[in-house]
Symmetry: C2
Subunit: 244 residues, 2 copies
Amino acid sequence: MRNIKLTLEYDGTNYCGWQRQINGISIEETLEKVIIDLFEEDIKILGSSRTDSGVHARGQVVCFKTKSTIPTHKIPGAINSRLPRDIVVVYAEEVDMDFHPIYSTKGKMYSYRIINRKMEPALMRNYYWHVGYNLNFEHMQKAATYFIGEHDFSSFKSQGGSTKDSIREIYSLNLTKDGDYITVTIEGNGFLYNMVRIIVGTLIDVGRGRIPYDSIGDIIKSKDRRRAGITAQAHGLYLEKVYY
Amino acid sequence: MRNIKLTLEYDGTNYCGWQRQINGISIEETLEKVIIDLFEEDIKILGSSRTDSGVHARGQVVCFKTKSTIPTHKIPGAINSRLPRDIVVVYAEEVDMDFHPIYSTKGKMYSYRIINRKMEPALMRNYYWHVGYNLNFEHMQKAATYFIGEHDFSSFKSQGGSTKDSIREIYSLNLTKDGDYITVTIEGNGFLYNMVRIIVGTLIDVGRGRIPYDSIGDIIKSKDRRRAGITAQAHGLYLEKVYY
């Protein structure tokens, strides 16, 4: 048996998310079906991150075990030729049999893209969250610094996550601005359910003056979801990298 | 009567191009229908640029004459509320009655976006041309300098354009690279049919070694379309600005 690790890029627009669901087509089942067909084995794939509907990925990691002897470097092309064009295997490698895409994770990087102008965009609407308010970018940058480090992020998680422990460490949280476009990049050892989207939504609420930038420390300490900001829309979020 | 000038952004993916055609829905007819409905007049709109199917715009300019007294600043919202989401009026202004979106033009700016990596992209496939070859970016930048200035661009036009004169002036042609992403920005007093796409295709052919960068001058002089490179795909092209 071999343990194959795939790095996956996908456009989440037309899927109900990574995970199999009753309504809608998931990325998980789309990829698994292709892998079962190709390897002619009863394969179960395992993804590192359960991205929501509309969320994109440049570096989702997926593992599966196979008896096949197909050379590893030929796996991406063989899978991609059977996949829809909005899912692409970027890389394949053989890893140790005990490598696990979830439990072996050391951290993750996400990015979030915003277009900030009054008028709704006609272009790239599935790839940017449109925010029409005037934003104080400097306040958003100041607010971002409060998230760095190890905290209980209970104020920044939605109901429905599977983990009990809400302590996570944020390694970095950077905001860049290029004309109307704002990119948020965040790295940490792990993220609670909707945590990145609630952090981004809170930064937006800081930018438009609904939350003072220097109250972020208190909001974290309160462990009260109602004190944080809105949840940013799914389609601006990208799973960039999973660190092992 | 008033002459109204609109600045238009659109995603060209789902249209047969700007101009009305027998097969497919054009941006021109989609916008005109909304304007006729809204103003309750028999209005003819006129666009500055006949963008092809798949080509995007951030700054298409459209004019129409109306007897309506609706305040100019209310026109974008009124039109946008009736348009599909992939066409947006960004700005409206009242201009002199003799202002003409084509004949009053002093120049145009286009951009062209390329993703350069081996693997096909899953994301933003309608907004970037995927080029899988290794490219010598320095050679492409050197080649770009030959296009600047006033030349007969017969080597860089497709059949089917309406103009007889092929002399145009390129004011600037810049290439920037950010990781796998290449952006070409070109400004000039006017462009022949497919001229930007053939220039970009030729730059790609230079980058992959099929055309030497120092032969661009000769290719221009030859006035022979067969000596220039391929025509870059439509969906990487953006009409950015029209200068008046």
